[in-house]
Symmetry: C2
Subunit: 284 residues, 2 copies
Amino acid sequence: MKIGIIGLGLIGGSLGLDLRNCGHIIYGVSRQEKTCQRALERGIVDYASINIDSLATVDIVFVCTPIGLISPTIQKLTPHLKSETIITDVGSVKSSVVNECEVLWTNFVGGHPMAGTAEQGVEAAQKNLFKNAPYVITVTEKTTKNSIKILEELAQSLGCVVHTCSPEIHDQAVAWISHLPVMISASLIAACVGEKEKTVLELAQQLASSGFRDTSRVGGGNPELGVMMAQYNKTALLQALDSYRHQLDQIREYIYEERWDSLEEILIKTQKKRSPFIKTQHNS
Amino acid sequence: MKIGIIGLGLIGGSLGLDLRNCGHIIYGVSRQEKTCQRALERGIVDYASINIDSLATVDIVFVCTPIGLISPTIQKLTPHLKSETIITDVGSVKSSVVNECEVLWTNFVGGHPMAGTAEQGVEAAQKNLFKNAPYVITVTEKTTKNSIKILEELAQSLGCVVHTCSPEIHDQAVAWISHLPVMISASLIAACVGEKEKTVLELAQQLASSGFRDTSRVGGGNPELGVMMAQYNKTALLQALDSYRHQLDQIREYIYEERWDSLEEILIKTQKKRSPFIKTQHNS
């Protein structure tokens, strides 16, 4: 298959490495000449160009740009494509992207391969990044069966576990398990460094250990990524935040009223209910 | 030095192993005959007894019982001790413990060696558990200089980094970096399993990865321990929870009002301010 990839960073580059390894011919597009050069040198692509019209003959295009550029990129791309070409994206938020893009191209299907590292750029691209990772494919009334089938087969060839659902269900699920944790974790750090006695802050910094380290990890991550989540998944994230605050208030009330049995009941539940979320291990 | 240890579980047992290794004579006390037997077999103690009067001749006693039993244990212990014997505890909350105990015994000094594993009991005791761990020694107007000095030297011989402060400062610091994380992490799990569409819950469980795993870890821990923190450190924990909720509300407001620059400012701050809390690595 001839496969186009626009954006040759961590995700686009890693897709190129694995898909090329499967025997496909990879046409890469980057805005930077030197990224094209590196992608060729690293064996990520067979051909690379800064011109989007170089994708005129491909069968499917993966748009691997930042979320805000997906729809503008597709607008520039479509005049050059044959009508049966499939366009997909790899954005981590789907409703807003899919809504915009499926009116631009009939054979558009939204996707979200849920893998990553803390690194960025073409040098960060790596083989087998997607092995055992979930690959969400979004389905709407407009999505063509053929585009779902082709993307599903490609995702499986990467070693991904494919999930299909509506863009809205995807966005709610990732709000809960990915975007909400960032906000509550960031709030922890912000509260810990907030106004307090200097001796308390300094001692807290000295005494902090694995509990603080783990709970604060995602809140200390890439700020742009955090804003992006909030910006493009606002509705679902706000809903999750409100429900979270309700739970927090419940716990606070039990402590305030010294209802230790009720507090223990919650903590017994949270101990028990955590495991279904952590049985699957993958990079993300 | 002759050292008494009451409670031969993870902390008491590990103290025994290391202090005995330093050349001290260890007198262990447990409520269970079979724990005494195992402590002797494992080389944790030189002598072991279920009778507290076996500690009549020791120079210092480490009370390593659960927090609620520290003061009752000291009440039973004091009639058997010589007046210059030092009593210390290893409780993870200090104000309430120290307030109660320092009126029971002149040479009482509160302590908190901040090390641990997920295991409990005499079989969990291990050598070098305290290496590089913080050891907080609490100082009040009533604390004698000699008892601070002796405990400090013993803590240093375990490889601990000693911090001295008031019980109140200790409790505030651990509320921020240890007890607050448990409550916010438990709230995350509780919110994620709370009322929502079944398809969203199931997909969330499938898609959850390292971000959710880390942020939810301490909230999925030992429920009794969580209740104990809240029970004995209520004031400081409520204060931390209120300040945390204020931060969370701030973030929620920025998202709701689409003030992306303000949100990014917070996330830039939390990314930068996390590192002073995580430079020290130890088991706890």
